[in-house]
Symmetry: C2
Subunit: 433 residues, 2 copies
């Protein structure tokens, strides 16, 4: 049989998210108030986040119950399938076994709804009427608009200007789900207007868009802000990916030697990786690898220190790997991986040697994505193709050594809205950042 | 619980396709040779089609075994989920129960791979090295390129010129799977060159593209032609949709009063409908409705008579509903429904009163698609939104009468490559053809 897919019964979908905070070898250092440089108090975050999300952000409970209303919506596409990539193995001529978890089956086409649904739900419960956010290529913006639509919350998305005009179709998806999306920098915030004045030629950045969304939430009634990655509560929500995968690996009667996820802010890597990091801390022998673009090598080359999450220095300072809050990476086509910082959880795990990081240039990543599409069928997002490239490299090492390793990666999303990037790849117009 | 999805176990996936030919109340009239107007002999079709496909086209066996190699690939996304659309029901305030089968989960994003995989497989078995086809918006072209890639067959797609330039992203998908796609009319065929000369301003049509693909297959060695709809063997392959759905309706302990599919060439409607038509002929009380665009109302307004399948009169004459082989419909955004003819099986079932047909204008169809996306989450293809509109109408009738009918429709594909059409809808730029 060429394909094997492992489908977990809906009733066996995990009922709790995993929170790695109490299991961290050393406790995370606290976020700092950007005005005082003092550890931030939970109540100081309330203008921006729902109280339950702040509680989860700092929780020491190892497992957090998933409310029924969230599970009901998860079940629209979850449990997501795990596949054995037999055709890819055959194409590579490797003795390694390659598995991938497919998160592109969600309505928004990526793993992002795992947390957007949860964030919108808790906000709805606490009476939030409007949520602001930023988005790069639109994966997060579309996922949040989907979620806000379910809970009748108004949603405003500040979309990085270059993506707004060059990759307009996730913007269309945001409109389809009823949210309001505008290019950033905009003239609707003080910071946006300042950037427009100071840098009239800018095509925007995630750091700028975050500043705008945060300012909007801080200044408007009944409005909160939502972040699609980086923060602890986002990492918790995404662990449903890895928890499901652990059950599915049991169905396959196998267990990974290597677990791979692409890494921008860290939510996808945390999703597939953290439950396996727990296994590793419990004594299992395995590697967990985060894969970055060489154009934005936060974990690979950034410093591990306190830094701001946004360009206007409005967000709390986080202890994380960072390329500098004002770093603007080249316009690579994996827009979801163009962030100067990274999740403090992921950053510290890398720092402590529990996770590894590697990085690839754009063209070899697209080549890997095409190999995957031509063997397994599904068209991957450029972000996910980073994980594919690393999985292929690990499998090729096995071909040399003869080892029958088990390699697992997360296919974080499909590439249906990235066809313009594939066109450029095929036309030889893609830079090798 | 807001959502319920019914997942059939992989091992319970149907092992045979249903062939309705031996169950037709009156036998189908034979296809005619376009040169002689005489019933065509099987061997006369061999320059275009694999022998096994010709055999299936004329088979009197009620069930046709699905070869293991095809089942293996089907299992990449099959059995596809059946959903209860509870949020849509709630939004409509209807006592009706609405179910939908989701065929957009295939790698190509529609039901088309159900037959493209089968056609490529049988061609591979018989030594075909190259397959030609036509495509409108690209659903079929991408599905065939996916299939040919699996079986290492070269694939050449003649894509209707207007779509090639205006909706380029399914073209990108065709490239991603390694096929060769060119705009039609092209200068690579005699008929294409003639059309370019006679109608220099034409933006192409399916009828023209079919003529080019057929000419290419007829004149080149080891080359066959593949059609994504209309023909009997295509209808057989698609019945896996309805056969799965029948099992899933049993899981739901329910049975449809109305079965709805959009209808262009008829393959999607046949897929969801024919197994239920068998039930109807066996005495079950239900309606099966084909939904067309008002701009191309083949079943609703076309004549039931022999006609050509293509503009150059190269294909056999089929007894079917037709708007005339030279009919070129307005450029509506449901490109998959812009065909002048329809499946002889579907046509005759409509003619005999076993199936019904209805049609809608473009804007009300998009409105229904948006309602679906905002309640159920998935972004539907404009083709599929025709079925959604009809399901909504049937559900609204139930609100008036208080009847608790069970309504089933096929969501034939996702709309990820149709965002430009949604943009036009939201911007008020969509014509109401």
């Amino acid at each position: 049989m060429e394909y094997t897919k492992y489908i977990l019964d809906e009733n066996d979908m995990p009922k709790k998210w995993y929170n790695i905070l109490p299991d961290m070898p050393t406790p995370l250092e606290p976020p700092l108030n950007p005005a005082t440089n003092e550890p931030i108090k939970p109540e100081e975050l309330e203008p921006l986040f729902a109280r339950e999300l702040i509680k989860q952000e700092m929780s020491d409970k190892r497992y957090i119950d998933i409310p029924d209303e969230i599970k009901d919506i998860y079940k629209l596409w979850r449990p997501s399938p795990l596949y054995r990539a037999s055709r890819l193995e055959k194409e590579l001529g490797t003795p390694a076994k390659i598995y991938y978890k497919h998160e592109g089956v969600s309505p928004a086409g990526s793993h992002k709804p795992n947390t957007s649904i949860a964030q919108a739900y808790y906000n709805m419960k606490e009476g939030t009427e409007r949520i602001t956010t930023e988005t790069g290529a639109g994966q997060w913006g579309s996922a949040l608009s989907l979620a806000c639509n379910y809970f009748d919350i108004e949603c405003k998305v500040y979309m990085v200007q270059s993506s707004f005009y060059q990759k307009p179709y996730r913007k269309s998806l945001i409109n389809l789900w009823g949210a309001n999306v505008i290019p950033s920098p905009s003239n609707e915030t003080q910071f946006g207007r300042k950037i427009q004045e100071d840098f009239p030629d800018t095509s925007g950045s995630l750091g700028i868009a975050i500043s705008e969304a945060v300012e909007d939430a801080a200044l408007n009634d009944n409005t909160k802000y939502a972040l699609g990655s980086v923060l602890n509560h986002v990492m918790h929500h995404q662990t449903i990916i890895g928890l499901e995968t652990q059950e599915q690996m049991k169905m396959a009667e196998d267990y990974p030697d290597v677990v791979i996820g692409c890494c921008g802010g860290g939510s996808n890597l945390a999703g597939i990786g953290l439950p396996f990091i727990k296994d590793k801390m419990d004594g299992n022998d395995l590697r967990v690898i985060g894969v970055e673009p060489s154009a934005c090598p936060t974990l690979s080359a950034g410093e591990f220190r306190y830094d701001y999450g946004d360009m206007a220095k409005m967000t709390p300072l986080l202890k994380m790997h960072t390329l500098g809050y004002d770093f603007i990476p080249p316009a690579i086509h994996a827009g979801g991986l163009r962030y100067h910082g990274c999740s403090p959880i992921i950053s510290q795990l890398v720092n402590e040697g529990l996770m590894e990081a590697t990085n690839y240039h754009q063209i070899e990543v697209f080549k890997a994505g095409v190999t995957f599409a031509r063997t397994e069928g599904f068209a991957p997002a450029p972000e996910s193709s980073h994980a594919i490239k690393c999985a292929i490299d690990e499998a090729m090492k096995c071909r040399e050594t003869g080892e029958e390793k088990t390699i697992l990666f997360n296919l974080s999303g499909h590439g249906h809205f990235d066809m313009i990037s594939y066109d450029k790849y095929f036309n030889g117009e893609l830079g090798n950042e």
